[in-house]
């Protein structure tokens, strides 16, 4: 349940509805009930200060709870966990350009160098020209993660002293053909900048 909530776009949608719908119901109720022009100041105001404290306590509990639980789903924590649990993290290097990916994976299967095994994979990427992103969609079409790939200085031959490649560790748990898309607008052929990654069952 928590995995779905924090690792899926629809989980995020559920959280928005969880936060918004109770507010909407109360807001509409109060505005509708009080729109008759029948203000009853004395009786209606009693107990508001108690409600104020209860309301703020509720907001704090929800906000703190949502964020504390989310810590274990942060990519940095996932990366640390993968590093502890698994000795071998597969390395995939990516260089993005307009409008292609140069991907190098450790496996070469059926002539494809876009193959990794089920398990943790470290994706390290950079861009050779403008801002791109590297987003992986699972075979069902859900976004697993996206990371932006930032270039250097266009006035200095794309080399930058201020940044190295960005990287993230993701642990694949099922084989399949995954789609790679650029999710950062990068020019007139942006929508055609896509690739694929094949995840195969591991030997272990």
């Amino acid at each position: 349940m928590l995995d779905f909530l924090y690792l899926n776009g629809w989980g995020a949608m559920l959280m928005v509805l969880f936060l918004f719908i109770p507010f909407l119901i109360i807001f509409v109720y109060v505005v509708y009930k009080k729109s008759t022009g029948q203000g009853s100041a004395d009786s209606a105001s009693s107990g508001l200060s108690t409600v104020e404290w209860v309301w703020m306590a509720l907001v704090l509990v929800v906000f703190v709870g949502v964020n504390v639980i989310s810590i274990s789903y942060m990519p940095t924590v996932q990366t640390a966990r993968a590093a502890v649990d698994e000795a071998n993290i597969q390395q995939v290097n990516i260089t993005a350009g307009s409008w292609f990916y140069d991907i190098s994976t450790p496996l070469l299967i059926n002539g494809s160098n876009r193959t990794v095994e089920v398990g943790p994979v470290r994706f390290s990427g950079t861009s050779s020209d403008t801002m791109h992103s590297f987003a992986i969609y699972d075979p069902d079409g859900d976004v697993l993660f996206t990371m932006m790939l930032m270039p250097g200085n266009p006035l200095k031959g794309m080399k930058s002293a201020l940044k190295g490649p960005t990287s993230i560790v993701y642990t694949f748990d099922k084989p399949g053909t995954y789609t790679v898309r650029c999710l950062e607008y990068c020019g007139i052929n942006h929508h055609n900048m896509r690739d694929q990654l094949i995840v195969v069952a591991g030997n272990n």
């Binding site: 924090y6 690792l7 776009g9 203000g39 100041a41 859900d142 201020l162």
Partner: protein
């Protein structure tokens, strides 16, 4: 140069909506706001048409022309909507609030420069877009330069577009804040202009002032970076001096520190306007918020938490960002939610305690506030580090941006209904005003939910091929709700166009009931 009143009077259709009432002696606070507001609605018409083009070209098989048209419309729509429409509307109504609450005239060179720089800048950017510059609303630096290197557009249109952007930035970062600060702290109040006196501590004024300082402080770094790059493009600044500013990471940081705080500043301003306007429509005539200290605390929390929550823009931009900074952006974003929770309580408690006198303007403001909360929920969720990695770059972000802009525009349009009689001496058609609110409720909430759902389903933003991942259904719904919203805006325009003149005792009664005092 013709006076703003004359210019408004000479513009067909739009001029009729905002013709300034010259009989009240209030031209010094009415003229420039009327011209700014009128021009903002012209830009809204442009943005609206381009907004419809985006989904339409996805449905029509136009070959290579399709993506070209889509990305042109995308860039033009965002550029017209965010700055010359929403920001200019906000400046127009905001300055009118400032003038009438502080008794300060809106005259002299600064209001003129605000108007000229904003609209000339937006016009130059639009011309550059029509000549091929497709860099989206957020510039996507270094795409403008790379686009030249890859033959997508010419350096001339980049220089033209950047010049336009620079003029718009000068308006938002320098001219507007200076005008607000000038009206807040300098000059003697003119009693005849002081219609609704407010101190600077009043929650209805405090947010205006906070926003001016936020824009000034958060915007200066971007102005320096952008000026350096523009100076290089013009050949004024040599490459070795411009090199640091051209670093992608430098530009991105400067850009998002400003862009993020621009939105937060606009939120501070509009929440302040809500705090000022709501009490004037209470059923028992109290004209006071449930708690002014609570309202002030809400604004201060929003200000303090929003200032550094910009780090949430870098969660996926730099996955290597130290976890503490990423989480700081995360927590501060939820902190803005605490400010919003206090605002929700203040507004609901005020209504609960004193009852409501429903009027189209107030209902538009309240609907805008509901949308603002929906947007806030989507914003804090996508600012969470875990969710950010699934949502960034998807239609979720476009839904968030569109909803925040539309919600703020809606609140300002509601506030404008309240200011309208003072500016024009006319009263809006209330039936049409109510219809506007109802249509907006359907178009705005429906559009926001569909765009968020599209993002949850992985639909990319700024993407010319919705069919690629089976996202056309979301696109169809976006078009439908967008058209409903477009109709709502037309109804709003007609409600102003068909406004009826009010004079004498009727005018005075309307102004007294509206909390303005008597002006004739």
């Amino acid at each position: 140069m013709a006076s703003p009143t004359t210019i408004v009077g000479n513009i067909p259709f739009f001029g009729r909506m905002f013709a300034v009432d010259q009989s009240t002696g209030l031209e010094d606070i009415n003229a420039w706001p009327a011209l700014m507001i009128m021009t903002s609605f012209i830009w809204l018409a442009v943005a609206g048409l381009l907004g419809v083009v985006m989904p339409l070209v996805q449905f029509l098989d136009l070959g290579p022309l399709g993506p070209d048209l889509y990305y042109t419309a995308l860039t033009g729509h965002g550029a017209a909507l965010a700055f010359p429409f929403v920001f200019q509307l906000m400046v127009g109504v905001g300055l009118h609030r400032m003038g009438s609450c502080r008794g300060q005239p809106i005259t002299g060179p600064i209001p003129a420069l605000i108007y000229i720089f904003m609209n000339a800048g937006a016009l130059l950017l639009t011309v550059a877009i029509l000549f091929g510059l497709k860099i989206s609303l957020v510039v996507m630096y270094p795409l403008p330069v790379v686009g030249v290197q890859t033959g997508q557009w010419s350096m001339n249109v980049v220089i033209l577009g950047f010049t336009g952007i620079a003029l718009v930035l000068i308006t938002m970062i320098i001219l507007y804040p200076i005008q607000v600060i000038k009206m807040a702290f300098f000059g003697k109040a003119r009693q005849e202009l002081l219609l609704s006196p407010r101190s600077l501590q009043d929650p209805g004024m405090l947010g205006m002032l906070m926003a001016a300082f936020v824009l000034l402080i958060a915007g200066i770094p971007l102005l320096i970076v952008a000026s350096t790059i523009l100076g290089f493009l013009y050949g004024i600044v040599p490459p070795f001096l411009a090199s640091w500013a051209a670093e992608t990471v430098v530009f991105q940081f400067a850009f998002f520190i400003f862009a993020h705080n621009l939105m937060e500043a606009m939120a501070l301003m509009v929440i302040s306007a809500v705090y000022a306007t709501l009490p004037l429509y209470l059923a028992d005539g109290t004209r006071k918020l449930y708690s002014e200290p609570l309202a002030r605390i809400a604004l201060w929390i929003l200000l303090l938490t929003s200032l550094t929550s910009f780090f949430h823009h870098f969660i996926t931009l730099f996955p290597n960002l130290p976890a503490a900074l990423a989480y700081h952006g995360n927590i501060m974003s939820f902190g803005t939610g605490i400010g919003s929770a206090l605002s929700i309580f203040t507004i609901l408690a005020t209504i609960w305690k004193h009852g409501l006198r429903p009027a189209p303007g107030l209902m538009a403001i309240l609907l805008g506030f509901v949308l603002y909360i929906l947007d806030g929920a989507s914003a804090v969720v996508t600012s969470n580090v875990a969710w950010s990695f699934q949502l960034h770059g998807t239609m979720w972000q476009s839904g968030h941006t569109m909803t925040v802009l539309v919600s703020m525009a809606l609140m300002w349009m509601g506030v404008l209904y309240h200011h309208y009689p003072v500016i024009t001496g006319r009263q809006i058609d209330e039936q049409l005003g109510n219809l506007f609110v109802k249509l907006c409720a359907v178009g705005c909430v429906g559009g926001a939910v569909v765009m968020l759902a599209g993002g949850a389903a992985g639909m990319p933003r700024r993407f010319a091929d919705w069919g690629q991942g089976g996202w056309m259904g979301y696109g169809t719904l976006i078009l439908i709700f967008g058209l409903i919203l477009g109709i709502a805006y037309v109804v709003y325009a007609v409600s102003l166009y068909r406004s009826r003149e009010i004079a004498g005792a009727e005018f005075n009664k309307l102004l007294v009931d509206g909390g303005w005092g008597t002006v004739r």
